[in-house]
């Protein structure tokens, strides 16, 4: 601590705060569990305050960490490695979670804040298990805090002189989406800890009635909402920042958030079966445990380096081992408790019919778990194959899509079919009545699109290359089915309520949504999912073009050498700029977009070269959304016009552009907003609805209140939506780059070189992954020199091949893949050829369905037997005493609809 050794009071106090927090967490953990086991109220109370104190200490440590960032305390290693003096204050704050050490502290902070709220709200309601709940949360906190203190202390300081300036934050993270995407995803991950803690609390205390389920369901819904938000924001970030025209590439980090999303969704459905029918207690607890397990497993995947990803944190074997030990403890304790409490969890599972809502929920659970398993398997497959035979294979997006498309379509169908089914059983006559409108709507949609939009009849591979179906057409049909189903549910429900209350249909619909908000909020979520699928379907119609233009001209006109045409659009390359500021050089092209000789937009795609980023260029994509009705009139199909500057030569001003026309992509963002709205409706507290029911007494007043309530929810949802336009104000019409910024430096135009001349070449290039170290892009899409060289190689192999028959095209395709495989290894293929890659998911998915069919039959037989016995008992029973019948009617009248 003398003048030669760097000393940071911030680091010292921060480390003391972490150490004190560790002691507080250890005390809370021990006092909570001992207090609950010994039935000592004082110990449990102490544990609860310990948890609050822990939260305050972590808040202190986090405040100090951010303070170190904003005051440039580079004696703290983490600050020096993830920030520099030139960064904006916002990015200095977000640099807090921009690296591994800080992200772990951020995780602990979010869990501390969440658990404080969860315990404050629930400590009285669940006082007989709250000690165990606090103990479980603190066990998780202790693990992460131990990592922070012993392995990844963010307050560690340099032993020698600190640097004058830091290295700066990864430029890819210096984006406004990165300000909100990680917190929302982390919040989703962390929120899964609360249901897990309540599940463990219920198991440990033996209080396994339905009371814990209510609290757990709400927290799981919050987990679902934040995971959805985190995933979609991540998608938006990738769309704007990575410049490959898409929003989802099945990257392991994306998948890490998607797997618990599937299991959380499965829980939200099966929990309804437990609430309605008192069945599946063990299954629901398992789903709670699995969801939590996957959140930790996802963290393990992205932080241990076990999988290779474009934005994982790097390899760390020590951390990997620590995570594996923790995951093992989670499994042993959770499954041990579930087995120990089997006598209390055992319930008689019985269904009366396959055509019942509860059985549809079971099917939904099967598909969601199949999705979770498949994504997990495919993400881990390269690691598994490397461990088994030493050869690392690649699993590209194409492999995921071939599997996830049919599973997704099945799920989409169920999200429309399940609401149409009644609980227990739906007779054939009723089935027809319920399914007629949605099915007719779907059939008309399919027929209309097949006739009116011939592109929808395009055959795409499903599961395997050999199986080709009009996937888009089926997709649109399913979307229409879901929309029809949900619309019918709302319409009929509102009519029934209108008859019951005497109100008009609109008032009744608002009342219906609020009084049965979990059900109808859920339907809105289903509608959001259907709209998301419209966006997914659009992916099949993406078009891409690469063009190299030799010179810009401010007087460029449509049709001259400075312009190029793509679809209904013409682009003119007008200028090239190079500007610099404190932390980057910006190379910006000015391009105008025209339709039928009329300029519709001037955009500024750019490349940014951050001074502290070793030459890695960051794309600044110019996106022009065109979705308004008149846009449809102006062009054959509306969508995003996505322009990327892929190469440039500052001396000659030559520039290479890539244009994507992404039809329907905005439906992805719109679908998410609907999903978020539905989730918020589900989360409206009963107290709020009760207030609405009491005042005012007039029908118009009630409708106004309900409308206001829904408007507030819609406002929150649109608030999220507004973030989609929270980019820095565009200058001169460009999306991100202010007008006047320039560009330059050496460039290539590789993206435009050796483009495929036919479908077979294109198909083969799409199947081959570029080995340049990009985000597992195919050589068709990657804009590097290596990809251009490999495309030439594909063309050379195919030259002379007979492509005039299916057999010839297939042989040429196989030949290309064979040559590349022998030269570069299995790793070059986007779809692994190993039998295990197909066999394992197939076995699991089919086995799951088989188990469901076998047990389903058994449960249904049992259910039908019991139902028949109940009917017989009712028939043989003496007439019911009027007194009791009246009493029952009174109670029914007081029960909420």
């Amino acid at each position: 601590m003398n003048g030669e050794t760097p000393f940071s009071p911030i680091a010292l106090v921060g480390t003391i705060a972490l150490l004190t927090a560790f002691v507080a967490a250890a005390w809370s953990f021990a006092a909570g569990i001992a207090g609950n086991a010994l039935k000592s109220r004082r110990l449990v109370t102490s544990a609860v305050y310990g948890l609050y104190g822990f939260g305050a200490l972590i808040a202190l440590a986090s405040s100090l960490m951010i303070y170190a960032f904003v005051t440039h305390d580079f004696s703290v290693k983490y600050v020096a490695e993830t920030s520099d003096v030139t960064m904006d204050t916002w990015y200095k704050v977000t640099a807090f979670w921009g690296g591994l050490d800080g992200s772990l502290l951020f995780w602990v902070l979010v869990l501390a804040l969440f658990s404080t709220v969860a315990i404050a709200v629930n400590h009285k309601r669940h006082r007989d298990m709250i000690g165990y709940v606090v103990g479980t949360i603190m066990a998780v906190q202790l693990f992460f805090l131990a990592l922070l203190i012993y392995t990844k202390n963010p307050f560690a300081t340099f032993l020698t002189n600190p640097p004058v300036d830091g290295k700066g934050l990864n430029p890819a993270l210096q984006n406004y989406w990165m300000v909100i995407h990680p917190p929302s995803l982390y919040t989703g991950f962390v929120a899964a800890t609360i249901p897990f803690a309540f599940g463990i609390g219920a198991l440990a205390s033996g209080r396994l009635d339905d009371m814990w389920l209510g609290s757990v369901r709400v927290w799981m819904l919050i987990c679902f909402g934040f995971l959805s938000l985190g995933l979609i924001l991540g998608g938006r970030w990738a769309y704007e920042m990575l410049g490959w025209g898409g929003y989802w590439a099945w990257d392991p980090v994306e998948n890490a958030g998607f797997i618990p999303w599937f299991t959380a969704t499965a829980f939200l459905h099966s929990a309804i079966i437990q609430e309605q029918r008192g069945m599946m207690k063990t299954w629901n607890l398992l789903l709670v445990v699995i969801t939590f397990f996957f959140t930790i497993f996802g963290t393990f995947m992205t932080r241990s380096g076990i999988v290779k990803s474009v934005h994982a944190f790097g390899e760390d074997n020590v951390l990997a081992l620590q995570f594996v030990a923790f995951l093992a403890v989670i499994l042993v304790v959770s499954l041990g408790l579930i087995i120990y409490r089997q006598n209390k969890l055992a319930t008689k599972t019985e269904f009366e019919s396959f055509y019942s809502r509860e059985f549809a929920f079971l099917l939904n659970n099967w598909i969601l778990l199949a999705c979770a398993f498949f994504v997990l398997f495919a993400t881990m497959f390269p690691t598994i194959s490397e461990a088994l035979d030493g050869s690392r294979v690649s699993v590209g997006p194409e492999f995921f899509n071939k599997w996830m498309t049919p599973l997704g379509l099945l799920l989409l169908f169920l999200s429309g079919a399940a609401p149409l089914l009644a609980w227990r059983k739906t007779t054939q006559e009723r089935l027809w009545n319920q399914f007629m409108f949605p099915s007719a709507f779907a059939a008309i949609t399919i027929a209309g699109l097949a006739i009116g939009v011939p592109q929808t009849r395009h055959l795409s591979p499903l599961l395997a290359d050999g199986l080709r179906l009009p996937v888009s057409l089926i997709n649109f049909g399913m979307v229409a089915f879901v929309v029809g189903s949900i619309a019918q549910e709302f319409w009929r429900g509102a009519n029934v309520r209108s008859k019951q209350t005497g109100g008009d249909v609109v008032t009744s619909m608002l009342g219906l949504v609020l009084s049965k908000r979990r059900k109808y909020g859920g339907y809105i979520v289903h509608l959001g999912v259907a709209v998301l699928f419209i966006g997914f379907a659009g992916k099949a119609y993406d078009r891409m073009i690469d063009r190299t233009i030799d010179k810009p001209s401010v007087a460029a006109k449509v049709g001259d050498e400075h312009s190029w045409k793509f679809g209904d659009y013409t682009f003119t390359y007008e200028n090239l700029f190079h500007t610099s500021d404190d932390h980057k050089d910006a190379f910006t092209a000015q391009v105008s977009i025209w339709i039928d000789g009329k300029k519709i937009e001037t955009v500024y795609p750019a490349k940014w070269d951050f001074h502290k980023n070793d030459g890695q260029l960051i794309s600044q994509v110019a996106i022009t959304p065109r979705y308004l009705p008149w846009h449809y009139a102006e062009t054959a199909g509306a969508g995003d016009v996505y322009l990327v500057l892929t190469g440039y030569d500052l001396d000659s001003s030559q520039a290479n552009f890539r244009v994507y026309l992404n039809p329907l992509i905005s439906w992805v963002w719109i679908g998410f907003l609907i999903l978020a709205f539905g989730t918020l409706v589900c989360l409206v507290p009963q107290a709020v609805v009760d207030r609405l029911q009491w005042k005012p007494q007039t029908r118009i007043g009630r409708a106004a209140d309900a409308g206001l309530m829904l408007a507030i929810i819609a406002g929150v949802t649109l608030g999220i939506a507004s973030q989609a336009h929270a980019a820095p104000p565009p200058g001169g019409g460009g999306e991100h780059v202010p007008a006047g910024m320039g560009m330059g430096a050496a460039g290539g135009g590789y993206a435009a070189q050796n483009r495929p001349a036919n479908d077979t070449e294109s198909h083969a290039m799409k199947e081959l992954l570029c080995p340049c170290g990009c985000a597992r892009q195919s050589i068709l899409e990657c804009d590097c020199a290596t990809a251009a060289k490999l495309r030439a190689k594909v063309q050379a192999i195919m030259s002379g091949a007979k492509l005039d028959s299916d057999e010839g095209r297939q042989a040429a395709y196989d030949n290309v893949l064979g040559v590349f495989r022998s030269e570069y290894g299995e790793d070059v293929l986007a779809t692994p050829r190993s039998k295990a890659s197909w066999l394992a998911p197939t076995i699991v998915v089919i086995a799951g369905l088989g188990v469901l069919a076998i047990f389903g039959r058994r449960w249904i037989k049992s259910g039908q037997r019991d139902a028949a016995a109940a009917v017989a008992a009712t028939a043989g029973a003496p007439a019911v005493d009027d007194k009791y019948a009246d009493k029952l009617d009174d109670e029914l009248a007081e029960t909420d609809d």
């Binding site: 305050y49 104190g53 202190l60 204050t89 009644a422 008859k499 019911v880």
Partner: protein, 242 residues
């Protein structure tokens, strides 16, 4: 935790402490609020909350056990299960009616379902009424005489009864001693009487010790799963805790 009568005063003091600290930080920075100042303020708030909560952590750990209104276990005995089943059945009837009106269930199916649910709901209501009657009569479902309250209340009554007996015995001992004193003053042999009084006092001590032990056991037994789930539950308790 929330029964603390001075909690609002304490919260106000904390708020004042935080406000003074923030004002001092702002004053030190000449009211120029920058990002570092904001995070120093947050850090100060965290320090205050840390001290308050860690102090309360220790205070709660050292405080005597307080088992009052906030009993450990919520009542989820047979009666609680019946209440839950009734609620589920009522909702099922409503849902079946709604499904029928929506067209998901035919009238015959809906009627058959509702009939079954109603029959079971009425059975449950009868069962619940029986519990109420048993509460009135102070007997358990098997007809055994029983206090209507929880096991702890029963044990508390038992202890009280024993203490009353002990109190009566003490009174008797005092009376006997008084008689012995009187007798000695009168010159009568008092040895036998004094011995009897001492025996009675010893017996009283034993009963009191036993009572203490029973009270301690009562706290443990009350929260035991088996005991609480097997016992009928007091409706007031149920309302208070659910």
């Amino acid at each position: 935790m929330s029964d603390d009568p001075v909690r609002w005063i304490r919260r106000a003091l904390i708020a004042v402490l935080v406000a003074i600290g923030w004002a001092f930080i702002a004053w030190q920075n000449k009211l120029h609020i920058t990002a570092p100042v904001a995070f120093v303020c947050l850090g100060y708030l965290a320090v205050v909350l840390t001290i308050v909560n860690l102090w309360r952590t220790g205070a709660a750990a050292m405080a005597p056990e307080h088992e009052g209104v906030e009993a450990w276990s919520r009542p989820i005995g047979a009666r609680g299960e019946l209440e839950k089943e009734k609620k589920t059945l009522l909702k099922a009837i409503k849902e079946a009616e709604f499904d029928h009106q929506m067209g998901k269930l035919s009238k015959a199916d809906a009627d058959a379902m509702i009939l079954t649910y109603r029959a079971r709901a009425i059975e449950v209501i009868k069962e619940l009424e029986r519990f109420e009657e048993l509460d009135m009569k102070n007997v358990d479902p098997a007809g055994r005489p029983l206090a209507k309250d929880s096991v702890r209340d029963q044990i508390a009554r038992e202890v009280k009864a024993r203490l009353e007996i002990a109190g009566a015995a003490k009174d008797a001992a005092k009376k006997t001693k008084a008689r012995a004193d009187k007798a000695s003053k009168a010159g009568k042999p008092a040895v036998k009487v004094e011995t009897a009084a001492a025996k009675v006092e010893t017996a009283v001590d034993k009963v009191e010790t036993a009572s203490d032990k029973v009270t301690t056991d009562a706290e443990v037994e009350t929260t035991d799963d088996k005991v609480t789930t097997d016992e009928p539950v007091d409706s007031k308790n149920a309302e208070a805790t659910s």
